[in-house]
Subunit: 331 residues, 2 copies
C-alpha cells in the first residue's frame, strides 16, 4: 500500500504540500489541503487548496480548473481525499472518480474517523491506482499541524514565541524591552501572527504593554489573529476572548495558537506540556540581570528536561537569528 514515489511524483507531492500551506489558519475545522492535478500528457491541469472555513476542498478547486483534462490524469494531494458525505459539499473521492482520474498520490492519511482509509478504499474500488508516499507524511503533517493536533489531542497546535538576548532575557530589569530584536526579526514575527487564528498573552503583558497583537505587514493587515487573554480572574478587553487555564485552549475557535507573553504565561503552557513549537528570536546582545523569558515550569530534575526539543529550522534576520524547535512526541 505504501510506495516510494518516483522523482517527478515526489516533486509534485512536495508542491501539493506547499499549496496546503496557503490556507493555514483559515480553514478550521477542516484541514488545509493542497492538490495538484497533472493531465495524461504530464502538464499541470489544475491546482487547489482548501478555501476559507474549509470550503471548497482543494480537490474540487483543482478538478474544476482541469475540466476534461482530469481524465486519465494524476491527482497529488497532501491528505487522503474525504470519503464522507457532508451537507456542506460533495465528497472528494466521488469527484475524483467522476472526473476519470487514473492515479491518486497521497502524502498523509486522514485521521478523521469518517475517512481514515475509507477514501483510499473507495478510490481503489473504482479502479483508480492509489499510493501513499510515507516519506512525505511528516512534511504534510507539519503543513496541516493544526488539523492533526486537533485530531490527536483535541486542542489547537501551540507555538510559543520568545525574543531574547543571548543570556535569555526578554527585557531589562526595569521592564524595558524595546528593542531586543531588530526590524527584520520583528517583521517575521508579524508574518507568524498571520499564520495563526489565535494569539494569547497574560494580564501582565496586557497591562504593561497594551499590545495590539496585529499584523503590521503590507497586504496582511486583515490577517490579525483573534486575541485571547490568559488570566485567572477579571475581565478581558472588548473583542478579546478569555481563558483561565492553558487547558481551556481546547474550546478556542481555531487550530493554531500563538503564545506571545510573558514569562509566567510561557511557563504555564510549558508546565502543562501544551507547547508544540518554539520560535526563539535571539539578538546578539547581553543584558545581564534582566527579566528572564521563562518563569518556573516545575522542573526538579535536569534529566527530565532532555530529549524534549528538536531544532528543525534556523534563519538569519541580521543581526538576529531565529531558531525553531519542535516538541519531540512519541509515535
Amino acid at each position: 500500500m505504501t510506495t516510494p514515489p518516483a522523482k517527478a511524483d515526489a516533486a509534485w507531492l512536495a508542491a501539493a504540500i506547499a499549496l496546503s500551506e496557503r490556507g493555514r489558519a483559515r480553514t478550521a475545522p477542516n484541514p488545509s489541503v493542497g492538490c495538484i492535478l497533472i493531465d495524461a500528457d504530464g502538464r499541470v491541469a489544475g491546482r487547489g487548496w482548501t478555501g476559507a472555513c474549509g470550503r471548497p476542498h482543494a480537490e474540487a478547486v483543482a478538478l474544476a480548473q482541469a475540466g476534461d483534462r482530469a481524465r486519465g490524469g494524476t491527482a497529488y494531494v497532501s491528505l487522503e481525499p474525504c470519503a464522507h458525505v457532508s451537507p456542506r459539499g460533495p465528497c472528494c473521492t466521488d469527484l475524483l472518480i467522476a472526473a476519470g482520474v487514473a492515479r491518486v498520490l497521497i502524502a498523509a492519511g486522514d485521521p478523521d474517523v469518517r475517512t481514515n482509509g475509507a477514501g483510499i478504499t473507495r478510490l481503489r474500488a473504482a479502479g483508480i491506482e492509489v499510493a501513499v508516499a510515507a516519506a512525505h507524511a511528516p512534511q504534510a503533517r507539519a503543513a496541516m499541524a493544526g488539523f492533526f493536533t486537533r485530531q490527536r489531542a483535541a486542542r489547537p497546535f501551540v507555538t510559543l514565541k520568545l525574543a531574547t538576548s543571548l543570556d535569555g532575557c526578554i527585557a531589562l530589569a526595569d521592564g524595558t524591552s524595546r528593542w531586543i530584536t531588530g526590524p527584520a526579526a520583528r517583521a517575521h514575527a508579524h508574518l507568524e501572527r498571520a499564520r495563526h487564528e489565535l494569539i494569547l498573552v497574560g494580564r501582565g503583558t496586557l497591562e504593561a504593554d497594551e499590545p495590539r497583537l496585529d499584523v503590521r505587514l503590507p497586504g496582511l493587515e486583515a490577517r490579525a489573529p483573534q486575541r485571547v487573554l490568559l488570566s485567572s480572574a477579571g475581565a478581558a478587553p472588548e473583542g478579546w476572548l478569555a481563558i483561565r487555564t492553558p487547558a481551556e485552549i481546547a474550546a478556542l475557535p481555531g487550530d493554531h495558537l500563538l503564545v506571545e507573553g510573558g514569562a509566567r504565561v510561557a511557563a504555564a503552557f510549558l508546565a502543562a506540556d501544551l507547547v508544540d513549537r518554539l520560535l526563539l528570536y535571539r539578538a546578539p546582545i547581553l543584558i545581564g540581570g534582566g527579566l528572564p523569558g521563562l518563569a518556573d515550569i516545575g522542573l526538579t530534575d535536569l534529566a527530565a528536561a532532555h530529549g524534549r526539543w528538536r531544532l528543525t529550522d534556523t534563519r538569519d534576520f541580521a543581526p538576529d537569528r531565529l531558531e525553531v524547535y519542535e516538541r519531540e512526541r512519541a509515535g
Copy 2:
C-alpha cells in the same frame, strides 16, 4: 607595499597561520608564529612554529629543516619576522637573509615597537622581495590573539565560557547543573581549556563545585591551565593565583584567560568590558526559573547593548550547539 597574494600564495599563508595555532597558549611572552618554507621548485622545504616559552622562533625551525633548499625559496610567515637582537636567540630577519631566501610573504605586521616594520625594511634592504597580505591579517591576528591583545591592551585575551539552556539558565534554582550539555560539548570545552594558559572562577563556583578545571582529554592532561580565583577577600587554595578585580588580569602570567564561572564573575568581566570572545554552549532544553548565566552588568539602556558582539562560528555538538561571538572593536 600590500599585494594581494596569488592563489598558491594564499594557500601557503593560510597553512602558515594554521601552524601558528599549534603554539597557542605556550609561547608567551612571544607570539605563536607559523612559518612554511617553499623551495625554488615549489616544494615544502620546512615548517615551523614558535616553541614553548617563545623559543625557537618559527622561522628558525623552518630554516633548519630546509638547509640549503632555502636558497631562492619563499618564506610564508603569519607575522612579520623579528628585527631586534635578543640575548635569547638570533633575529629572524638575519636568518632569512643569511639563508638566501628570495621572497617573504607576511600575513600581519608585528606591533612590537622593536620590530613594527623594521623587519620588512631589513629584508628589503638585503634584496628580498617582501609582501604583506592584508587579506590574511584578520585570520593571523585571531590565531595570535593573546599576543595582539597584550600588545594593544596590556592584558590577556579573555574568553568567557557559558553553558546554558535555551532560556539562558546555567542551573536549576537549587544550583543543580549536572548536566546541561552533553559529552561532546563538554569534551570541546576541555579542548578550549588546553588552548589557554589561565582559567578563572569566582569563590562561589570554587566553594560550590570544587572544580578541578583540568583537561580530561587523552594526551592533553598536561595542558591544564593555571587556576586563578577572582575574590575580593580571603585566600586562594594552594597552587592557585588570586586577583581581587578583573583589571588585575593584566599582571597574570599568560596571554589567554578562560573565564568559567559563575554568573557574578561573568558579569564583572563584562561590566569592565574585559571579554573578547564568548563561547556559548547551548543545550536544547528549557529550565524555567533557573539560575541565570549572567548577573547584573550595569546595563541601563538597551541601545547600548547592540553592536557589541558578532557571531563568528557555530558548531554542532549534538544535541548541543556552540556559538562563538567576538567583541566588535573599533579599528
